[in-house]
Symmetry: C2
Subunit: 458 residues, 2 copies
């Protein structure tokens, strides 16, 4: 009898969870159907990328993007949309951006495709003309020291290592030369620095991105530029033939006073736990040289789409759901910090925070924090996601904009699309809407919508 009771109980549990699985399956199928047939994320991204375009913090375009995000969230059916103020850096690229090689006898001049790095100071008018010292690492620079470096332009010729399957790892290894190269070069008396673009595409687009000055290393702020992959090849080859060649760098970028800007937040009110939040966000600002289509227009429109999906399908979330368009991810994280601060001030409890900032590519999976058992729950849902080619639920997730929340103990999730093409376009003039595939973008949005649905219901 005892055994029979146990079997009955097990059967009951098993059939309960099977029924649950069935219900969740049906709900996910409905969500995916919506995203693949009715969603507006592709059209929304077309507008953001092609009508507003590049929108670096503090720019007119960023202002327009704030108004656009507010309007788009309202149209998507948010119960409430509000702006959350933050002070953001205001860096301007200016109009001059030249990098010229002078080499050989008789002297030949060659223009190289290059761009100023974000936050860099500009050069004096007329530019800096100097010999070039090429290094493959900070160690090499340190070994060469002042004797070899002083009065020269330092060229950090560091490739993204193609052997990494996860391209983000290769980026992580090489980006420190972009970020910290100028101060390290200044320490030894260099006049400027150029870096090989962090690029997986072997083409002629230079990749910008933020840099910083570490005044503990050097008080001198050197102008810094990125060379395209091709230009870096040309410079390196030319140096082999003529080590005495000179490079002329000229930029008129500058750092202006901080500007008031905003995160834009669209909310669906929770039916049971109104002051508990599940959020999905991307960053509204983008580099100025392209259209910010993959980085991170894609994440913005994917996040906004959850509002429409819930409204259209009549889903009433238990917790409040937010789409957050963070401002200033690219050069400061002011938006991410302001959001986390406000969360504390307003006593908002965050159940989970998801970030989508890895491009609008075909979904691979999610990286999920182990905090509060979130990873365990999501891992359990793997079979629900498998029909949708969301195959990887891995531990430890997050993203730049939600990292201040994570520090407060909020379990964070990074949406992970396929990363093979991301660093082809990242921070370049080539990050444009025509690089977006409609289905891939929609499948990403659907995966996010489905995951937040399950988290809300559990």
């Amino acid at each position: 009898m005892k055994q029979k009771k146990l079997i009955t109980l097990l059967f009951f549990i098993a059939s309960c969870s099977y029924a649950q699985f069935e219900n969740d399956s049906i709900a996910l199928r409905k969500l995916y159907d919506y995203y693949l047939t009715e969603s507006k994320c592709y059209k929304n991204l077309e507008y953001l990328a092609t009508k507003i375009g590049g929108r670096i913090s503090g720019s007119k375009a960023a202002e327009k993007a704030v108004l656009w995000a507010k309007q788009t969230m309202l149209e998507a059916g948010a119960d409430t949309v509000f702006l959350q103020p933050c002070m953001v850096p205001h860096w301007e690229r200016g109009k001059t951006e030249r990098c010229k090689l002078t080499f050989g006898k008789p002297q030949i001049e060659k223009q190289l495709k290059a761009c100023a790095l974000g936050s860099s100071v500009g050069t004096p008018k007329g530019g800096i003309k100097a010999r070039v010292i090429e290094v493959k690492s900070f160690d090499e620079l340190d070994k060469l020291g002042e004797k070899a470096v002083k009065g020269k332009i330092v060229f950090y010729n560091v490739f993204m290592d193609p052997r990494h399957i996860y391209t983000g790892e290769a980026y992580g290894e090489s980006v420190r030369y972009r970020w910290g190269g100028a101060s390290r070069a200044a320490k030894y008396g260099a006049l400027g620095c150029v870096v090989r673009s962090m690029s997986t595409a072997q083409n002629d687009f230079p990749h910008t991105g933020n840099m910083g000055y570490d005044t503990t290393i050097s008080k001198t702020k050197l102008p810094a530029m990125a060379l395209s992959y091709v230009a870096a090849d040309v410079l390196s080859e030319s140096l082999k033939k003529d080590p005495e060649l000179t490079l002329t760098m000229e930029t008129d970028c500058k750092n202006l006073p901080e500007v008031l800007s905003y995160n834009v937040i669209g909310q669906l009110n929770g039916s049971e736990k109104r002051n508990e939040f599940i959020i999905t966000g991307g960053h509204l600002d983008s580099w100025d040289n392209g259209q910010g289509a993959h980085d991170d227009g894609a994440g913005i429109v994917q996040s906004i789409e959850i509002l429409s999906a819930y409204k259209k399908l009549g889903i009433k979330p238990r917790h409040s759901i937010r789409a957050v368009a963070f401002m200033n991810e690219e050069n400061g994280l002011a938006g991410g910090k302001a959001y986390a601060l406000a969360a504390i001030q307003n006593h908002e409890k965050h159940i989970a925070a998801l970030e989508t900032d890895a491009g609008g590519f075909t979904p691979r999976g999610f990286n999920v924090d182990t905090l509060n058992g979130l990873y365990k729950s999501v891992k359990k849902w793997e079979p629900l996601f498998r029909p949708y080619f969301v195959d990887r639920i891995d531990p430890e997730g997050g993203g730049a904009d939600i990292s201040p929340l994570e520090k407060q103990g909020v379990p964070c999730i990074g949406f992970e699309p396929d990363g093979q093409r991301y660093f082809d376009y990242h921070h370049t003039a080539d990050d444009t809407f025509d690089k977006i595939n409609k289905r891939e973008l929609e499948l990403g949005a659907a995966a996010i919508g489905a995951l937040l649905y399950l988290i809300d219901k559990k």
Copy 2:
């Protein structure tokens, strides 16, 4: 003592398989490093796609492709390369390909982007001008019958269903209208037929592809064309406004006598089992309108790359390994059939046959036949592939070119790259080399090389 023995044995087995796992991991890492840093598949594809271009069976370009494949396999380090003869159909598109809409009062003319379907007969000179009957299915056509259809052009306006996650399923549902639409329309006295392109891209490229005449349905061979996605929209919308509008179809494509052509086979001789074979193949022919970059230049260069990889890394396969460039997959399968026939005639034992014909996109996994326990073995290797984002080992695999081998009981494998973009380019003028991402192509080649390595070793 008995228990201790058992534990020792288990420990021995466990440590053996762990050592095995370690060794396999190291071997795979070496293979991937080769493919991501030294492989020539991208350069090879550039040549095949841009210098030889579209290469439909029986064409001069297909002849050039045969010579190129032979040379490329030799350069890759094949122990032997040979041509395997097969008679292939010879269809030519000709020079005229027009589709014109005439509608409204006063009459307006509009050219629609359209192309002849492979194997279709041409129209009489001057074209066919007739009213149009739009249908969404064969059922609808059957219900309309001769009364509504006779003397008209049938327009199969069938979309690929975007709700399918696996795009191949949506293709499978709609392609029967391309394949069999003409004879079904002829049965009711139609004069011609046009189909909406099987396309996931909502653009103006018409998608060709093979069709056939079923003389058991009708003895009349109607000319058949594909409209671009946009053109099909225009036609459908115009019909709503003016059901009396006329369409003029004009083509001068034709079917010519069969031509002698070849499969090209590059072999690495097995060190232990020379007459047992593991093969990877794609098809060398492609549609004439594009460059056959994804379909299936990618599969060809990925297959050839295994020869170089083994040579460069000094891998001596136990079984003979073959890269097979099949001829005539697109409109006949003559090469696939010839290969399977020769395998029987030459008493060749095939351990496994892999086909890569789904584009040069980022790898997702393999579909593996359960025959001879192959699926079970491959499934066991999932942890080896996971670091490489090869996440899906699913049962039941194969491909068109290896299907005749499968009928002989050879366990077959289909390489499965991500399929979201495949039907954007498939069979169009837009299937060009610039749509290939170097890393994605290489990762596919590496996954195939790694899998064949494990199968050979087991």
